[in-house]
Amino acid sequence: MSSDLSQGPTEADSSTPDSAAAGVTAPLSGTLRAKPTAGWALMGSELSVLFRRRRTWVMLIALAAIPILIAVAVRISSAGSTPGRGPAFLSQITNNGLFVGLVALIICIPLFLPLTIGVVAGDTIAGEASSGTLRYLLVAPVGRGRLLLVKFVAAVAFVIAGTLVIVIAGALIGAALFPVGPVTLLSGDTVSLGEAGVRGLLIAAYVIVSLLGLTAIGLFISTLTDIPVGAMAATVVISIIAQVLDSLPQLDWLHPWLFSHYWLNFADLLRQPIDWSSFGSNALLQLAYVAVFGALAYGRFSTKDVLS
């Protein structure tokens, strides 16, 4: 490998001192066998880098702003909302503030969540490559496969954080502005606050699982390029294309294979009894996407000449 120092570490993102430092202090013998402890240390440093980035915080705040906007808009509008108009559950907010988080999820899933995931997942490898820190990561005694895994787990951590931020911000603002009480399910049955909380967490879990496939796709695209913006945009575009294809009835046969197909089916967890079939199908589908694109990312990344 030639050492092309034109893109030196001077360009390194100032918010990634940990990874750069880890690279510099690690022994400069990349052939060492990967140690498990090094993997965990890398994991910790990766997570702390991710969640100390100003960009991450801006995205999480933007996600939290959506339920707040919805709640405030519903609160200050004098006209009562008509059932059946607008996003599902919107008309229920005035009766029960807990629905704010649900409406926010419905609004965020098609665009906002994929957008933020595209930014994080597209940045994983390409961001390090463009800032010149990838080489230093690779000289640490951590195999490329493990580095890829660490990057994926960090991106998934952001997915979890983003989803929980929406749900929790929605619940808090809903409780602040509207009455909170037992929740009416889609089947017309009413469940207590405790069970409603459990179902809310199940829905958050469903949404997190739903987005794993897209995260893996973003990771793979990120290994293809050294330009993070390109990887981010491509990931977002793919999520939009998948949703467009999913809305074309002529492509019926393709729909069950699209990673976005089950995105909005989390309402099946609000039926009585719970309909687990979409949860199961969704989990299997996302697992398949993670396996396929994880393997592709590994194939690409482990054979890639890292020049910067």
């Binding site: 008509t82 059932p83 059946g84 590994y298």
Partner: protein, 409 residues
């Protein structure tokens, strides 16, 4: 390192990327195949299979039913509900006198009119559009049955659900999207089916056993009954009973009913139009459990914030809270002429017929003929006469017009 070993080790890194899709494709193909692998059932005559249905003792079950209609109607965009089609339920802009709840009370049952079943007595535009919605595309419902008086059907839509709950003599219809509920109390001695419309939990989605019963009722000496190859429905092996009407004036080409080999319960019904290769209408279980469903599924309390409408049965002589604007009950009983496959159901002119004929949706879908408008599908034709009468049947439009002319005399 020689370049050879480098390239071979590089090659190996791509092995997972090549193997995993193959494994996934293999699993995706093998699992449905193994589910369909069925031991061949002992051969039975059509009479034996018919007797199996008659002797079926299944009274309690739960399952998921999927209904797919491909009747040649334009598919309504997914997620478009009856109200947003301008048919008017719930929204204040519609001056329909019968309101949202009562009209959706019989939603969809108009779709069964062609098979000689329970025709709707409430023919408002909302009913028409929701009936049309059920006649296009794919719908999924969960069905819970415990005896003849405890039934629950949940029609599952994305982010919404319509429930029909019958527990004893109380029948509730709940629409989560509109947040409305309709309550009907059946007369105490209603087991004889004095109110078939309300007691039918499948007013919105036809369950396989209900639809199968309707077709079996149509079996006459001219119907050719045979048993096809073994089929697998919802993981259960089943006999395939094939009904082929010999009557030449019906649109129904053949009906195949999958009958569970263990219990005799009809699991799936496929209807093919005459001369067509593809199935026009199919309803079948995708999962089935013969365990008794939990009892609290059959009791329903309308949740807070729901608009509740009390609906009295049309057969009851007097009642409170009757739908304003609806005609006397006895004037609305459907008249069935003919029998079997080419039966024609007639709905007399009702108070809502003006909104029916002026519905823009109906105008889009029907074509004008002499004396009215005809809605043409591959299986069922519906004639709406200019004076508001409705004729439906699995016969040609000409026959409907003839029936309308005969009835007018």
């Amino acid at each position: 390192m020689s370049s050879n070993s480098v390239s071979s080790s590089k090659w190996k890194r791509w092995v997972p990327a090549a193997v995993i899709p193959v494994v996934i494709a293999g699993v995706a193909i093998a699992v449905p195949l193994s589910a369909n692998a069925t031991d061949s059932l002992p051969t039975k005559s059509p009479q034996d299979v018919l007797a199996m249905i008659g002797n079926s003792t299944v009274t309690a079950f739960s399952g998921t039913v999927e209904q797919t209609a491909n009747l040649g109607l334009p598919e309504l965009p997914a997620g478009v509900s009856a109200s947003s089609l301008g048919a008017g339920s719930g929204s204040s802009s519609t001056p329909s006198p019968s309101g949202s709840a009562s009209t959706s009370g019989s939603a969809g049952s108009g779709g069964s009119a062609g098979s000689g079943g329970s025709a709707s007595t409430d023919s408002s535009a909302a009913t028409v559009s929701s009936a049309l919605e059920m006649l296009t595309g794919t719908h999924t419902a969960r069905v819970y049955v415990d005896g003849p008086t405890n039934q629950r059907v949940q029609v599952l839509d994305q982010m919404a659900e319509t429930d029909v709950v019958r527990g004893g003599n109380d029948v509730w219809l709940y629409d989560s999207a509109q947040q409305t509920a309709v309550h009907t109390t059946l007369p105490a001695k209603s087991d004889a089916g004095s109110a078939p419309d309300a007691t039918q939990p499948g007013a919105t989605v036809q369950t396989p056993e209900q639809l199968a019963q309707k077709f079996l009722d149509a079996v006459d000496p001219t119907t050719n009954v045979s048993v096809g190859g073994d089929v697998t429905v919802a993981g259960r092996s089943a006999y395939d009973l094939i009904l082929t009407p010999q009557a030449t004036d019906t649109l129904v080409g053949s009906v195949s009913i999958a009958v569970d080999s263990a219990t005799g319960l009809p699991l799936q019904v496929n209807v093919t139009a005459r001369g067509a290769a593809d199935t026009a209408f199919t309803t079948g279980f995708t999962s089935l459990s013969l365990d008794t469903p939990s009892a609290d599924l059959f009791s329903f309390t309308p949740p807070a914030g729901t608009t509740v409408t009390e609906k009295t049965l049309p057969t009851e002589p007097s009642g409170t809270g009757a739908t304003p604007g609806s005609a006397p009950a006895d004037a609305q009983k459907p008249i069935v002429t003919g029998s079997g496959w080419d039966a024609i159901v007639e709905l007399p002119a009702g108070a809502d017929s003006a909104s029916l004929t002026s519905s823009p949706l109906l105008g889009e879908l029907t074509s004008p003929v002499d004396g009215g408008h005809v809605l043409t599908t591959t299986l069922v034709n519906v004639l709406v006469t200019d004076d508001g009468r409705v004729f439906a049947g699995s016969v040609s439009a000409d026959q409907l017009q003839a029936a309308a002319a005969a009835a007018a005399k």
